[in-house]
Amino acid sequence: MHIMEGFLPIEHALSWSLVAFPFVVLGLNSIKKQVYNKPELKMMLGVSAAFTFVLSALKLPSVTGSCSHPTGTGLGTVLFGPLAMVPIGTIVLLFQALLLAHGGITTLGANIFSMVIAGPFVAALIYHLGKGIRLPRGFTIFLTAFFANITTYIVTSMQLALAFPDPNGGFTASFIKFATLFAITQIPLAISEGFMTVIIFNMLIRYNSPELGALGILKLEKEEINV
């Protein structure tokens, strides 16, 4: 779910766009630098983008009786870092906003912020934390994708609560309403997304270990197959 076209007051829509813009520029630079230094990684960049494309097209039913979709940003965050996910996610959001009337141009900034800035940055934090305390790699990847997804929707709830505070209870009451709507829908989806990301990651370890080595994720002398 993305915030619908026209459903943020103009001031909010503009502010979020202003916040998001520098991240898009920084993200483009980050991609350019990584691909310039190691052109062989272009394919992995394509895989990260393709994964986001597939996952954000999958609208899955959830326990609240509504449908929503995963974000697919966890994988790219692990491979290329959170900044690189910003332009990739922006392309996905633009595609859906322009052609599918899903999300919108006026809410693009806010949606970029929640899906491809907040999500990936929290995910990167979780990934490094998991690596730091030496959690099993598969579990770390699972948590990374899970939190990329959940964070996106918590931030979306905050954005909506900021724009539409409850007339009686203010921001907090409104946030709780939006968050119960989204977060509960998202928990099973985030678990699914975690599993999907681990599956793809396992496949990358099997077939694309040279690239993962170049990205500094695998140590090549250790031919690890299972996570």
Partner: protein, 106 residues
């Protein structure tokens, strides 16, 4: 060989279970599994009955069929790229394995 695929298969089953179970267990109040955006819209209308969207989508898919076509297209493009990569990488791994074997023979 069996061991390598086992965890992936297990996770795949979990994903299917997580997606199918709500359809069986939950009886949605409206009778349908609508998108979460629709619910957000109605929540906004509940909080601010006077709020009107000030901008409407430039292009709206003319029907839900066309919308699902475009969503399919999005997924197909992604899946195509993923398949290309794994096909290429698998072939490459096999070639390398073969050339190593040949080196040993010589």
């Amino acid at each position: 060989m069996k061991n390598k695929y086992y965890p992936n298969l297990l996770m795949l089953c979990a994903i299917i279970l997580l997606s199918v179970a709500p359809l069986i267990i939950v009886k949605p109040s409206g009778g349908t599994f609508s998108g979460a955006d629709e619910k957000a819209k109605s929540l906004i209308n509940e909080l601010y009955p006077n709020y009107k969207a000030w901008f409407t989508p430039v292009i709206e898919p003319p029907s839900s069929e066309v919308a699902s076509l475009l969503f399919c297209l999005q997924a197909a493009i992604g899946a195509g790229i993923l398949g290309y990569n794994f096909g290429l990488a698998r072939g490459r791994a096999r070639l390398q394995a073969n050339s190593i074997k040949k080196d040993f023979r010589c």
